[in-house]
Amino acid sequence: MSFLNLTAGELIALFGTVSAVVFTLYLLDRSRRKQVVPTLRFWRHAETNTELRQRRKIQQPWSLVLQLISMALLLLAIAQLQWGDLMQTSRDHVVILDTSAWMGARTARGTLMDEARTSALAFVRALPASDRVLLLRADGLATPVTPLESNHAAVERAIRASEPSSSALNLDQAIDVAVRAQAGQGRKRGDIVYVGSARVAATEGVTSTLPGNLRVLPVTAPVENSGIRKIGLRRSRTETDQWDVFVSVRNFGLKERVAQLALQFGGAPIGSRTLTLKPNADQETTFAFRTKAGGLMEARLLDGDAFQEDNRAVLEVPAQRSLRVVVYTEEADPLRPVLGGNPRVTAQFRPPSAYEAAPDADAMILDRFIPTAPPKLPSIWIEPPAQRSPVRVKATVSKAKLSRWNSDHALGLGLRTKDLELETAQIFTPASGDIKVAETDAGPVIVGRPRTDTQPKLIVLGFHPVRSAMKYELATPLLFANALRWVQPELFLHWELNAGTVGTVEMAIDKRTNVEAVRVISDTGKAVPYTIDGDQLRFFAGTPGTVRVIAGDRESVYSLTLPEVGITAWAVPERVRRGIPSLGVQGSPVKDLWPWLAVLGGLGLLTEWLLFGRGRRAARLARVPARARQKVLQKRAS
């Protein structure tokens, strides 16, 4: 006789607690109750008759006994009482079913997963009916799918529902979980059965201290395979319309292979390479293509091998937008080379009479005029008339020497001039929060104002850069470039797109990057946990998806959709048992009693309620007044 769910001690403790509660409730139910009655004259007579007859605390002992017996039966049912020596006959097995990405590889008989499922089902069917089985799906993580289950049909259903995932096998972790699952069950340990092709991730090994009850059902795997490991896209540093593509391909097999790598963008081919892949080695290659448009870029290995899932990768390339600037000026020619030199800027020149407060653009430049309505876009003001300048003009000076640039701010980053003397310049009185970009000895001559609730960003120049001595300086186009980057920084982000495998991702970041401003977000917009160690940023993606990393002026998009293929083939030691054991199907020597106990317990409680329940008492007593009244009325009528 044994209990499946509770130990004998737990059962006794539980029954003791339940009995105490039932007994207390029983006494409370039958305790002396207070009643207010209209008179005591009839009660006094009843008292003399009953007091001698009853002085018992427990007035309905059979009710209590019935309740306690029923509770005991129900507790035994919960404990799943079984008749027979379970310890000697039944064992606990753990089936580790390999669901790593490699199990999706095809053979002549189907996929490796099909073979693994067949082997696992054969093992479960070979077990005696009383043996319990726990199914563990093993890939990058070990996930128990069923508890230790004596219902083999449920285990078989879970095996059939198992599919390959995207991560590589972590066999050590799976074996550790299996050993822990078997421990502390108080039963005879069965086998820990690994079913799979035993290809583990490059970073994972297999421990040398394997459990003695480990059994392997190997799945014959093809060895020749090559696949895309990584793709990287970034904008060219020199050509704005150009994307540089980096592709890494690995030959997982033992023979040298020749594979054709083809790239397409928006369905059109953009390049191809013939790669000679050395056995068990990576090979990288680069491509370049020009486009401003957005679309899907697909890399494909035109090589028929067993595992097709890693032969194709797709990346979504964003459209390259340029900054649209409207310049309101009477003299467009001096400004054209300044703005035209920046390939990411599209300038449109209009006369001041065509001024609109909110034109269809990203920013505007106001050259020496004051608009009728304040602009609703970020704006750059060049020599505004002093009376209505957005930043108050303190004075207008002549022969002002430009003495200092604010190189610490993005607006003044990299700007230098030497002995630059301005013919005339407006000296501003900056407000609180304004940024002094360039200063003379008399005061600031270029001021930036960050965005407020009511006003977009603006920059005011107290002199005309291309009409002054500064027009010959390199600082002039850089000043405009800085100003435009400051007003719309998101358009000037450095893009980097990567396609890789799920798991841990590492990326290098600039050491000067503000760590507080780093954001790592998933495609659902949720923050992904990450760590920064020196110039390395790490994060983990357990499921396929897209992760976006924004660090400083750089945005990296990781399309983690490539399957992680195990690189190392685990050599199963000789001492490890193999194949399906010949245990034979035994008839169950253990009888489950809990259904009968549950039924008996329920019937006991029902009987107690029918015989002694409060409702029953009330119903029995409610009939008495009716009889008495009828008797009286009949008496009156007669």
Binding site: F42, T50, R629
Partner: protein, 297 residues
């Protein structure tokens, strides 16, 4: 539908049925012409009855002078006597009326309201006299059906509390109301004193008794079992005892014997008795047991 703030609700249909009823009594009371209906004897009433020849000593104010002018004979106009039999309704407002799952006090007040309505419709005057261990302030209910709302308001404002003392109440009642008449007593008659003796005294004094005993089912057959800690609703006296089915039978027998005693007191003096359970609806009670007693017809 007549209703007050204390849920003293009487359905309109029931009121319409009550309009067909009349409060009646059997006895002839000293100093009054008996019977309920207008007397067939002439007297100083409002309603014309007949003419007769004038005799010496007759009241000249009753001579029909128009007939004398025409016939030159003196005829006297005779009028119907309007009897003044007092109908008094004693309503128990002691604390015991508040016990029971269905409120006996509310039931009794609804019964009193119904009887008042019957009287008002027939232009009778009913004196509602609440009592517990003494007589409370009474209310004279008369003047037609439009006076029913004040009667309801008076009944709704009554509170049940304190002990009952029938002997003391009887003594005060006899002293306050020397004129005999129909006396309807609505009570549970559950006090620790000898209420039978007090009622007998009222009957011997000459009142026609109509005893309406109202009880809750718990009063007749207590539904509880086991150890009981009982408290008298009126006196606060306490009693602990063990109660079972056998004791319940003893209790019920005692209760029935007490009811029989009350009935005997009523019947012996020409009165009537009716016992009502609060489980019985008011309409069933009036048009069943109460009509059978012929206090209302």
């Amino acid at each position: 539908m007549a209703r007050t703030s204390d849920d003293l609700l009487i359905d309109r249909k029931l009121l319409e049925k009550l309009e067909r009823l009349t409060v009646r009594w059997r006895k002839s009371f000293a100093g009054l012409v008996g019977g309920h209906n207008l007397s067939r004897f002439a007297g100083s009433g409002q309603e014309f009855l007949d003419h007769r020849h004038f005799h010496q000593g007759d009241d000249l104010r009753a001579v029909n002078w128009r007939a004398y002018m025409r016939l030159e004979k003196l005829f006297l106009k005779m009028f119907q006597i309007e009897p003044r039999v007092p109908v008094r309704l004693m309503l128990d407002v002691s604390g015991s009326m508040r016990t029971g799952e269905i409120d006996k006090f509310l039931y009794s007040r609804r019964m009193a309201a119904a009887l008042c309505y019957i009287g008002l419709v027939r232009l009778d005057t009913i004196c509602v006299q609440p009592f517990s261990d003494h007589l409370h302030d009474s209310f004279l209910c008369g003047g037609g059906r439009h006076r029913f709302v004040p009667a309801l308001e008076y009944l709704s404002k009554l509170e049940a509390s304190g002990p009952s003392n029938f002997l003391e109440v009887t003594r005060q009642f006899v002293a306050n109301y020397p004129q005999r008449g129909l006396l309807i007593v609505i009570s549970d008659f559950l006090d620790d004193g000898d209420s039978g003796k007090a009622l007998q005294y009222l009957a011997d004094f000459g009142h026609e008794l109509m005893l309406v005993q109202v009880w809750a089912d718990e009063d007749r057959t207590p539904p509880w079992d086991g150890e009981l800690d009982l408290e008298d609703a009126e006196t606060g006296a306490k009693l602990e005892l063990t109660f079972d089915a056998s004791a319940r039978e003893d209790y019920a027998r005692q209760f029935d014997e007490y009811c029989d005693l009350l009935e005997r007191v009523a019947l012996r003096s020409g009165g009537r008795y009716v016992g009502l359970s609060t489980a019985q609806s008011l309409e069933d009670a009036i048009f069943g047991p109460i009509i059978q007693t012929r206090v209302v017809q």
